[in-house]
């Protein structure tokens, strides 16, 4: 590989990076991840990538980790550790610190193990410290529910701050904001750990919506842990610690403020707030626990204890509470958006938590108890559960009051806060109010921050307090979220979490300033605020977001998420939720990616919620916005009132029944009514929608209503069965129907073709195709005297194809059906138009010698069968036939003779065949001839040869050729004419002898038929047929005749006759020859005729039309010759037992 120049690499990646050197947006994350995956072999590139990642926004970093980045980083770490490259390890560890993590991700690979190992074995101090920190962080994530799920995504952020200068990132990403806030908070709580916590919380807050689920799961875990802890030591120090840690997480800065505020006001309130938060968390946990069953109760109690403990602890870390609140608020926002849980939580924070989810509701009784406990605790600290509920209501009231106050008072944050504060104070205890106020503010800030990650800026920029308040108002909206929760249960959504992140982060930031500013003011309101705060933040969010944009989508999404959270009380749900967070994170990232700045991204989701609010607020915003909004919300009359009412009853009796009733009530309510009527989930979305679509003023009230409704929505019951199921009937559209069995035209055509072909085959095979193998297959024998064939020794395609076949699968077809109709097409080749060399027709050299002109020379005349053979016994001419005659024939003769007629027949011919001359001789033996008969079949003509060249006749057809033939012809003729008669009369033998005389056949023709019978003996039959036609011609020639070709024989006498005779028939005559004669005939023709006699027919067939043989052959044998045809052909199955003769020299 070429050297890597970092600068060049960065330049290449510039497109994908932002100004800070981090990944530009979520869109680039995957590309970058892919690039890193491919091109991170070298140290240089690794370092560059690590730096890029370190300067990447947390959300994007989370995305990156989600898209294989985690594994990749692990690999880097692994490699660097192996290479003992401690500086790189350090860098990577820092990166890991910055990276969002959750339990699932930690489980993906052994990175945690590696890091843990580094704690001990780290190459240098820095590495060890970093590793330890990382381990701590991750441990928290794992051990803490919250940390586990919610924090998972963000955890890295704090470390960044702590380790690296997080400030840089702060502005852009919520995380950064958080960091900023954390940093701010750090002022108060400088410990990095706290930072981490804060971060975690921030993360939680950020992720809230999505995370909430995680939270739950985590919470469950935590609760479990808590329980365990409780069991272990009734006290929940660890848990408390965790919780506290959580709380501190979110609001390190807040803590400071809160602390101050708490100090100022009442730690109890703070505690209450914290408790509430804790309760919420716990409640969620409890819910999960409840779902778990009895443990839940214990847990609740424990949780309450915890909360109390936490609260106690919290006193020290009121900020933590606030943070927890914020987180809870964020969660509530998330959850609220999602479902009633939040509402419940908001209403009766602790109780609400329990009530929020149906399961929670179920457990709500227990939870209620727990909530009550919590409340009691809180109450102990701040006030009774009622007080808590009152606080929630108070928050609402506050809002109203605020609005009113707003109208009266300026829209300053403090004022608002004050206003806000007052309401709670009145409702609750004044003392609480301040504390809560602070808390609320904090919470608001948190919520605000949570909701609008971008908000922080807003908060910072403009009236942070106001915006924050709005956020708090939004918190109220959160309730709406709760309503959404139900829907959330149905759908998992990531987007909300980001908003939360953003919110938290911003909150952290915002709160710091705002909190600092208005801390005092806020203090009063805290207790009730929790709920209100949540609402407020939402409102604020709405305001802020309203400014921003993306209202609808975000809203919808957020609520859904929330819903999921709420509904998922079950452990499995928690698990699912744990998974969901990732998704959420991704979505957030995407959102963030979409938005220019990370803040924006988070804002977006917030905005969604807010949008509706914003619109409403938008109108109001200018001045009294928050308060007014609150008022509006409260004003949103029915909803708010109902909500309040609902809240109260819930608080009073948190029984499910009551909740249900409340739900019903809520359903009955105007806006809420519809939503409630439909479903909790529906309610939620509707509510936000309503505010959105509704006029500015209407909108906000609607939101408020929603919150309260949320409270009532504790009802979290599933919609009625009929609403859950949608039944739709689809009419069958006939036009849609497809006839599967329908065949295409081509298919039909093919079918038709095939069937037709089959029919044709059958008919053909059945009637025409009598073709049968005449021998067995034997190994091939090479032909001698064959010149070598070049065999393409210069072929180059042969090699090409050989190579091709080596790499190409052979096309195998296991059945005829598999054979494609056509071979695969050839690749298209460019076909260039080019000048094709012309091949001239004439010699361009003009060499006249190059032309041999034989045009005047007539073609040589065709020749007939070679006469030569004739002479020889073999009648070679006849070739084989003769041979037969000789050998076999004789033998045949033997028997043949025996058989009177048959023998006879044969003889006659034979003689001829063999030698004319010798006829006489043959005579006796002739019989054999018959055998030939068969032979002739194949070679009909040959036999004739003996006689003359009769062959000619057969072959040439041409009469002329016959030259020699003439005699025969004569014969033929003579006979021919007479033949007829002779035949008839033609007692076989005589004829035979006469041989030639036999020729008589000529007459045969006509006679043919007649003769057959005439012959009396076997003849009758055989002859009859064959002869008929052929008789004439062949007859005479005998030989000729056989030639089937007789036609040719024609020359002989036959000619004339032959013509007609031409074909097989000619032979016919032969047969006529009469039994014996026939033979002759056969002979002649084929000799085969021999068989004639009986077979007469046989002979004929072969010879002439093959009639003889064919037909007769069999018969002939049987009768006449007795030579085994099978044997003659090479093999007789019968072997020695064959009743026919097996001539020894058959093969000749």
């Amino acid at each position: 590989m070429p050297r890597i120049v970092p600068l060049q690499l960065l330049k290449c990646l510039r497109v994908l990076l932002d100004n800070n050197g981090g990944i530009l947006s979520a869109l680039e994350v995957k590309r970058i991840a892919g690039l890193m995956q491919k091109y991170s072999k070298k140290l240089v590139s690794k370092c560059v990538y690590v730096q890029i990642l370190k300067s990447t926004k947390t959300e994007l970093l989370g995305d990156f980790m989600a898209s294989n980045g985690w594994t990749l980083v692990y690999n880097w770490l692994n490699d660097s550790i192996r290479a003992m490259n401690w500086p790189l390890v350090q860098e990577i560890l820092e990166l890991l610190l910055l990276s969002p993590v959750d339990v699932n991700r930690l489980k993906i690979n052994s990175a945690p193990i590696l890091v843990k190992a580094l704690c001990k074995d780290g190459g240098n101090e820095g590495v060890r410290i970093l590793a330890k920190r990382l381990v701590e962080q991750w441990l928290k994530i794992v051990t803490e529910n919250t940390s586990g799920a919610p924090a998972a995504a963000v955890p890295a952020i704090p470390p960044q701050i702590g380790v690296t200068a997080a400030t840089v990132t702060d502005p852009a990403t919520g995380g950064t904001v958080d960091s900023a806030s954390s940093s701010d908070s750090t002022d108060s709580a400088g410990t990095p750990v706290t930072m981490n916590y804060t971060i975690a919380s921030a993360q939680n807050s950020n992720n809230h919506n999505s995370i909430t689920i995680k939270w739950k799961s985590v919470e469950h875990l935590d609760t479990d842990d808590m329980n365990n802890v409780d069991d272990d030591g009734s006290t929940q120090p660890s848990e408390a610690g965790v919780k506290s840690s959580k709380s501190p997480e979110t609001s390190a800065s807040l803590q400071n403020l809160k602390k101050s505020s708490l100090d100022d006001s009442c730690s109890a309130e703070v505690k209450s707030g914290e408790e509430v938060d804790n309760k919420k968390h716990k409640s969620a946990r409890d819910k999960s626990k409840r779902s778990e069953k009895d443990r839940e109760k214990d847990r609740k109690s424990s949780s309450s204890h915890r909360s109390s403990s936490s609260s106690h602890k919290s006193s020290s870390s009121s900020s933590s509470k606030s943070s927890s609140k914020s987180s809870s608020s964020s969660s509530s926002h998330r959850s609220s958006s999602s479902s009633d849980k939040h509402r419940d939580k908001d209403k009766s924070r602790s109780s609400s938590g329990s009530s929020s989810s149906k399961d929670k509701e179920r457990s709500s009784s227990s939870s209620s108890s727990s909530s009550n406990k919590h409340k009691s605790k809180s109450s102990s600290s701040s006030s009774s559960s009622s007080s808590s509920s009152s606080s929630s209501s108070s928050s609402k009231d506050r809002n109203r009051d605020k609005e009113k106050d707003k109208s009266s008072s300026t829209a300053t944050k403090q004022e608002k806060d004050n206003k806000l504060m007052p309401p709670p104070a009145p409702t609750l205890s004044p003392a609480h109010s301040p504390a809560t106020g602070t808390v609320e503010k904090k919470e608001k800030a948190e919520s605000e921050t949570q909701k609008p990650r971008s908000i922080p800026i807003m908060s910072r920029k403009a009236s942070i307090s106001i915006e924050i308040r709005r956020d708090t108002d939004k918190a109220a909206t959160v309730k709406t979220y709760q309503s959404k929760f139900r829907s959330h249960g149905l759908t998992e959504e990531a987007p909300p979490p980001p908003s939360r992140k953003g919110l938290k982060k911003p909150t952290s930031i915002v709160p710091t300033p705002s909190a600092l500013l208005s801390s005092t003011v806020k203090r009063p309101s805290p207790p009730p605020r929790d709920s209100p705060t949540e609402k407020k933040p939402k409102i604020d969010m709405s305001n802020v977001t309203g400014h921003v944009e993306r209202p609808g989508a975000a809203k919808l999404i957020a609520p859904k998420k929330i819903c999921t959270l709420v509904e998922t009380n079950l452990f499995s749900d928690a698990l699912a939720a744990s998974i969901e967070p990732k998704k959420v994170v991704k979505r957030k990232r995407t959102q963030s990616a979409n938005s220019p700045t990370d803040k924006d991204a988070p804002l977006a989701p917030l905005k969604f919620y807010q949008d509706t609010l914003d619109e409403s607020k938008g109108d109001e915003k200018s001045d009294d916005s928050t308060k007014e909004n609150d008022e509006c919300r409260s004003s949103s009359p029915n909803g708010s009132v109902d909500a309040d009412d609902d809240d109260i009853p819930l608080k009073r009796v948190k029984e499910d029944i009551e909740q249900k009733v409340q739900k019903e009530k809520a359903g009955g309510e105007s806006v809420d009514a519809v939503e409630a009527g439909s479903d909790g989930a529906e309610d939620v979305p509707e509510e936000p929608k309503k505010p959105g679509p509704g006029c500015g003023p209407d909108g906000p009230p609607g939101v408020l209503m929603l919150h309260r409704r949320k409270g009532p929505k504790k009802k979290l019951t599933w919609q009625p069965e009929d609403k859950l199921t949608q039944i739709r009937f689809f009419e069958v559209d006939l036009s849609e129907r497809v006839n599967v069995t329908k065949q295409t035209f081509t298919e039909m055509k093919n079918l038709e073709r095939y069937s037709e072909r089959d029919a044709l085959n059958i008919s053909r095979r059945g009637f025409d195709d009598s073709m049968q193998p005449q021998m067995e297959w034997r190994p091939l024998i090479e032909v001698d005297n064959v010149p070598d064939h070049p065999n393409g020794n210069l072929s180059k395609q042969r090699q090409v194809q050989a190579e091709r076949e080596a790499t190409t699968l052979r096309a195998l077809y296991f059945s005829t059906d598999m054979i494609p109709d056509s071979a695969a097409e050839a690749e298209l080749e460019p076909h260039f138009a080019h000048d094709i060399p012309v091949i001239p027709m004439d010699d361009l050299t003009g060499n006249h010698d190059a032309v041999n002109d034989y045009s005047d020379l007539t073609w040589p005349e065709p020749k007939g069968y070679a006469p030569s053979g004739i002479g020889g016994v073999g009648g070679n001419s006849g070739g084989p036939d003769i041979s037969y005659n000789d050998g076999g024939m004789n033998n045949m003769m033997g028997p043949g003779h025996g058989g009177p007629p048959n023998m006879m027949t044969n003889n006659p011919f034979q003689p001829f065949a063999n030698n004319f001359m010798p006829n006489g001789v043959n005579l006796p033996p002739n019989q054999q001839m018959p055998m030939q008969g068969p032979v002739p079949g194949p070679v009909p003509g040959p036999i004739n040869a003996p006689i003359w060249q009769n062959q000619m006749g057969p072959v040439g057809m041409d009469i002329n050729n016959m030259g020699g033939m003439p005699p025969q012809n004569y014969m033929g003729n003579q006979f021919g004419s007479p033949g007829g008669p002779p035949y008839a009369s033609g007692p076989p033998q005589p004829f035979n002898q006469g041989f030639n005389p036999m020729m008589m056949n000529g007459p045969g023709p006509g006679l043919g038929p007649g003769l057959g019978p005439g012959l009396g003996p076997g003849l009758g039959p055989g002859i009859g047929p064959g002869p008929g036609p052929g008789m004439l011609p062949n007859g005479p020639m005998m030989h000729n005749s056989p030639n089937g070709p007789m036609g040719p024989n024609g020359p002989m006498m036959n000619n004339s006759p032959n013509g007609p005779m031409g074909p097989g028939p000619g032979l016919g005559p032969m047969p006529n020859g009469g039994g014996p004669r026939n033979n002759n005939n056969n002979r002649n023709k084929n000799n085969g005729g021999g068989g004639n006699w009986r077979s007469g027919g046989n002979n004929f067939q072969e010879n002439s039309g093959g009639n003889w043989r064919t037909a007769g052959s069999g018969s002939n044998r049987g009768g006449n010759t007795g030579i085994c045809k099978q044997f003659m052909r090479g093999h007789c199955k019968m072997g020695k037992s064959c009743k026919y003769v097996h001539p020894q020299n058959k093969r000749m």
Binding site: R765, D769, M771, P773, M775, W777, L780, I781, E782, V783, D784, N785, V786, P787, H789, P790, N791, G792, N793, S795, K796, Q797, R798, R804, E805, R810, A811, P820, D821, S822, A823, E825, P837, V838, I839, P840, D843, A850, V851, N852, D853, Y854, S855, L857, W859, K863, G864, Y865, A866, G874, N876, G879, S883, G937, G941, Q951, V955, G956, P1048, G1106
Partner: protein, 317 residues
């Protein structure tokens, strides 16, 4: 063991195998030079390959899209070229191994009636009713040489692959040196024009001494390959349908085989012109294709059925 092909052996040929793979007339057959495989194509668009040593049908592929005629093995294993009977008159180079066309040779505008491949290299000749004769190379779809004639062209390579013969208009044979075909024929044989039929095929004897001219009538001509002297005329077989009945040499150039419309196989002695025998295999239809295995004692004849013939007599008389 090698055996000389003599009359008696020739006469003893009998049908040993019958294949009914096709439902329509087989229109071309070709033995691989090593005599181990036989390829056939038929008017039902099937290409069937036979294993001659085992006497079995070894493979079948279809060419229903383009149809198939005048199929010839090329030198590579499992490849063949054939003319088309459908779509167009392109010549196609087919790999039977994977049943895929390797190349097309477009150019002819009418039915290709003559196709032969060089026994030595990858070039081949095609003659078409468009009155052109084209020289090709398997490696290129482009025509390597083009001859315009006044009539129906037929062509053949000599066994050495150095010369090719073009039969023109049923009256003359022109011999070209493959190395300088652009200079025109180095010799032309003008013959007595066929009156009653057309030349449908040219074949050099394996010894390169004679050229066999088959027709669509009932006559077969034999001329001296060096001087063009008319040597023999073979008749005596019926061809009453005007079919282009194939005539073939035996590998030792001694015998000439021809099919006929009566379903029988007619055999002549190439030297004497005498008819040796007529073999009856009971072919139900006209025997239009007949070839002797270039290496073994085996004869293949085809109507719709494919028949393998073996000698029953391996010894001389």
């Amino acid at each position: 063991m090698k055996i000389k092909l003599i009359d008696s052996v020739v006469r003893s040929f009998k049908v040993a195998k019958i294949f009914r793979e096709n439902t329509d007339k087989i229109n071309a057959i070709d033995f691989a030079p090593n005599g181990e495989h036989l390829i056939s194509c038929s008017e039902d668009d099937q290409i069937v390959i036979y294993d001659c040593e085992k006497g079995t049908q070894s493979r079948t592929v279809n060419s229903k899209k383009y149809g198939v005629d005048l199929i010839h093995f090329t030198h590579a294993n499992n490849t063949a070229i054939h003319s088309s009977t459908k779509v167009d008159d392109t010549i196609r180079y087919l790999s039977l191994h994977d049943n895929k066309y390797l190349r097309y040779f477009p150019g002819h505008t009418k039915k290709v009636i003559s196709l032969c491949i060089s026994p030595v290299e990858d070039s081949f000749l095609s003659g078409s009713l468009d009155k052109t004769l084209r020289l090709w190379d398997l490696r290129s779809p482009n025509c390597q040489g083009l001859m315009h004639l006044s009539g129906r062209p037929i062509a053949a390579y000599d066994p050495e692959g150095l010369i090719f013969a073009a039969g023109v208009n049923s009256e003359s044979i022109k011999l070209y040196d493959l190395r300088s075909f652009d200079k025109g024929p180095f010799i032309t044989f003008k013959l007595n024009q066929e009156k009653e039929c057309d030349w449908t095929g040219l074949k050099f004897s394996r010894d390169g001494k004679t050229i066999l001219i088959s027709t669509n009538g009932s006559v077969i001509r034999l001329v001296d390959a060096f001087h063009g002297t008319p040597l023999q005329t073979f008749t005596g077989y019926p061809n009453n349908k005007g079919l282009a009945i194939e005539a073939s040499f035996s590998p030792d150039s001694q015998f000439i085989f021809s099919g006929s419309t009566d379903g029988r196989v007619h055999i002549w002695n190439a030297d004497t012109g005498n008819k040796i025998s007529v073999l009856n295999g009971d072919h139900p239809g006209p025997v239009q294709c007949i070839q002797f295995n270039p290496k073994y004692m085996m004869l293949a004849s085809a109507c719709t059925n494919m028949a393998f013939w073996l000698p029953t007599s391996e010894e001389g008389p």
